[in-house]
Subunit: 269 residues, 2 copies
């Protein structure tokens, strides 16, 4: 983490949320020590900030409400999440989705025409991943002349307080195989998703830093877009990440607070 | 279908069941015209016969009972199916399975030690493919030092009277992706499965013919084992199969009855 001055030209930060700001859980989760204060210091410094998350179990409004309750000074406009990005894509291409998503995410698609579906949008549907619902999504896809499957992220699994859960990517693979299609992924690590986040941040890639706990999705994805990227040693970080065969962060930091210390220090030089 | 004399040296037949003997359905299914009589003619001719099926929604005993009710003169010993083959493999390798299979298949594993599982056996579990059951199988696999996933077939989907259903292969892909493992497939088109069927038939590959409705799993799989293979134009056969880029049957026949006509005719030459 020594030297480099990599943060001197930085004008904005993209932050992953789960594992960086807080650790999630059925109980609502717990803030990571120093992260709420770090967010305040970023804002006070004049640096721009945007949260870049693959969260699909709640609307942005509910998600922000939860984060505010945990002490984070953030607003809905400061969150880039897959569902709004998917709505943008659906409108742009005249797509009418059949939704297989979490109950709490459905309101994000309130304004979208869902009659006579010509695509399937798959999110982390959790309890909605029933045999009947998966067969229904499959039948709609296989019945389309050219099946369009849009997946909100492609995570393999995640940890909750009651244990590991299969994430949306596993169900995406099931439908891809059954229908012989390739899903379009909306969310990290898709390039277009990082580009939306940068557009909302209002800072070009070379002046932005992504900070996340996922070596592939956060760090690798951001670097492919021309950003610098830091990995925090919180959340799903594991020491073996530091030997990843393909992805090397621009720096490791113990947590978000340390990242902000270093960035603000370099800004003042 | 003209000439060739490909059936002259034949001493035994492997028959796929669903789509060749009968069309399956929640109501028990209906025999395909001429197939019951064709089975009787094969037996009367002195040719050996073995059913080679990926059926995993019933024990072999129940499956044979159903076929007998539909008019087919077959016995349990004449059925090669994935579950008994999997039991053989489990015993051979000292594997103790966690089962994610159809309720009606469970008795096939009655003699197998299932305590403290060190592998997962996945079948077409149908209604047992719940979110909770999939998470449970996933957690067991990801918790193993070297995850072993055994899949009873790898079908993409099948048709029932109430519509298309995702088959075991889709759920296999989900678990493969989540755990970063490759499943071992027991069933067609695995070479070892055809070899078991041939051993039970008691005829070497070059003197056996496989007859099936699935261009890839039945025809391609059998040919890779050195057998000749015919595709029937019943069951899941589609005209586009005749343009398959990789697999070419030794002959097409309209149905099992026609296949038996030709084979018996050539035997007499």
């Amino acid at each position: 983490m020594a030297g480099g001055g990599w943060a001197r030209a930085v004008r904005g930060l993209l932050l992953d949320v789960s594992g960086v700001l807080y650790d999630s859980g059925a109980d609502g989760g717990v803030p990571i020590a120093g992260s709420a204060e770090a967010v305040r210091r970023i804002k006070a410094s004049g640096l721009k900030l945007q949260l870049c998350t693959n969260e699909t179990q709640a609307t942005r409004a509910d998600f922000v409400r939860k984060l505010r309750n945990l002490g984070f000074d953030v607003s809905v406009a400061e969150v880039t999440a897959p569902a709004p990005a998917a709505c943008h894509l659906l409108r742009e291409r005249g797509l009418r989705p059949h939704l297989l998503v979490h109950h709490d995410l459905v309101p994000e698609f309130a304004e979208i025409d869902k009659t006579n579906p010509n695509c399937v949008v798959l999110g982390d549907a959790a309890e909605n991943f029933t045999y009947a619902n998966l067969n229904e999504a499959f039948r709609l896809l296989i019945g389309m002349e050219k099946p369009v499957l849009i997946s909100l992220g492609q995570g393999r699994y995640y940890k909750e307080t009651d244990g590991l859960k299969l994430d949306v990517g596993a169900y995406m693979k099931a439908l891809e195989y059954a229908c012989d299609v390739q899903a379009e992924v909306v969310g990290k690590p898709a390039k277009s998703f990082f580009e939306s986040a940068l557009a909302e941040l209002g800072v070009p890639a070379e002046q932005a830093i992504m900070i996340g706990d996922d070596i592939v999705s956060d760090v690798g994805g951001a670097q492919r877009c021309g950003m610098r990227a830091l990995q925090v040693r919180t959340g799903k970080y594991r020491p073996s990440d530091e030997n990843h065969p393909l992805v090397k962060p621009d720096a490791y930091v113990n947590n978000l607070a340390e990242a902000v210390d270093i960035i603000l220090q370099q800004q003042q030089l």
